[in-house]
Symmetry: C2
Subunit: 275 residues, 2 copies
């Protein structure tokens, strides 16, 4: 059974009640094996998605500092094809980006049919950090949940599969991660006082996440909370969710490929006959 917790639209959600330590009953060795197994299936499914060209896949990663977004993305990329997969990292918006609506820079990075986009942070920052620090007033960020739902609907109606992962770590785990960084003498450039300042807003972020997750989890584009204190359990839960989501599409992708293959073979036959 998967360790990922699927959120339903408008459900009651308390992140505090979800254990960031949860391992889904797998020890590290078992998890490693499971990751390889899932990865192999993911590799196959991604290739089918790519060459059949019927669907795109958008995977959103959100989480607090040190939650492991990069590590989680790497665990997906390990089983991804260069040709297919693009990672977009959304940082502090530029003046040009800020002079547009908040989805402008995001839309540009949506996956085409046959390709995969992974978002390291996303449009959800505009109802998370922006809300917590009141970069814009509530009557602006408050409307964004509907904007997000409408935009994601546009994508799913055009054949894009959407998965959203919130990497869930504990307050204590984050502190440990930050302190560990300070011990790495040669990595002093990694230190950022901002990471410590943000911790003071922990509860405000929790509220903002709870609202975003429950207000933007339609059937077609759900959020999953991933317990993320334990890295291997985190990766199993993510890979499992992706694979289980893609599996039902496999049959139609194979049918399309059979048709493409038959056509290619016929063209090759005619070409050789003509020679």
């Amino acid at each position: 059974m998967s360790n990922a917790i699927r959120i339903s639209q408008n459900q009651k959600l308390s992140l505090k009640s979800i254990d960031p330590e949860a391992s889904g009953g797998l020890n590290k060795e078992d998890a490693k094996e499971r990751i390889q197994e899932l990865g192999n299936e993911l590799e196959e499914l991604q290739e089918l998605l790519s060459v059949s060209g019927m669907n795109g896949l958008l995977i959103v990663f959100q989480g607090r500092d040190t939650a492991g977004k990069e590590g989680a993305i790497k665990s997906v990329l390990n089983f991804s094809s260069v040709r297919t997969c693009n990672v977009a990292a959304f940082k502090v918006p530029t003046p040009l980006e800020l002079s547009h609506d908040f989805l402008w820079r995001i839309h540009h990075n949506a996956p085409a049919k046959g390709s995969i986009s992974i978002f390291n942070r996303s449009h959800y920052e505009d109802v998370l950090v922006v809300r917590v620090h009141e970069f814009v007033p509530k009557d602006i960020w408050g409307k964004r949940y509907d904007h997000i739902n409408a935009w994601e609907k546009l994508l799913t109606d055009s054949g894009t599969i959407i998965l959203k992962f919130m990497l869930h770590i504990s307050f204590e785990e984050q502190e440990q991660q930050l302190l560990d960084r300070e011990k790495e003498v040669e990595k002093a450039w990694k230190l950022n006082v901002q990471d410590w300042r943000e911790r003071e807003y922990w509860d405000k972020y929790t509220e903002a996440y709870e609202d975003a997750l429950t207000m933007c989890s339609p059937e077609s584009a759900p959020w999953f909370v991933i317990p993320a204190n334990k890295k291997s359990a985190r990766d199993v839960a993510i890979l499992e969710t992706i694979v289980e989501t893609l599996r039902p599409y496999k049959k139609s992708w194979l049918q399309r490929l059979e048709a493409i293959g038959a056509k290619a073979k016929e063209e090759l036959r005619v070409f050789r006959e003509e020679k």
Copy 2:
């Protein structure tokens, strides 16, 4: 000694005289070990490039069908950070792209300082396939070598490090690869009669490559011919070239990081004192 052959501007070049089977004297086991060794160094250098933010890196991959561009790119990505590295695959230009100059779509994908762009095919297609099939007349493609040199100079003058790899396979190896594909019954969708048609232009491509490589190999943005019949030798030569190119920058990157680290530590100290 590296198996990569560095091209000098306007040198005489005969691709036929370069053995695509060359292995640089390494057997498969040795090559595997060497790849891991180089990969570890590459990983470290890429992180320094990224966080010091002083230089960008552009790596161009060109080669005929089945030359192994994707595999070679994967071998670099295996040691690359998600955060830093972006792959751009240039396919047949869209009508919008065609309505611009040929460097328009390329420029957009050039690496920022602190990041890496890998090109799967590139602006060189505009003096390769475009020249071989005369998609535009000679007085247009003939001017492009100068345009390319000027544009690449713009990049290197702005701190971008440029490396260009031509994956060199033999006519026989390509045939074998294409025939092998036909044996994979379930991969019939991979077949493309176009691959066989292009083989008829083999010698024309050879000429076009020889001109592109010798006319666009200034000191600051050289081409490397990589014998590519043997995959592990190919990957060793590529990784070796990248690592040897980046190594001389290491000292200045470390100096920059030391300064950043000292500043971060001081900010953290002040923050804690204030509490």
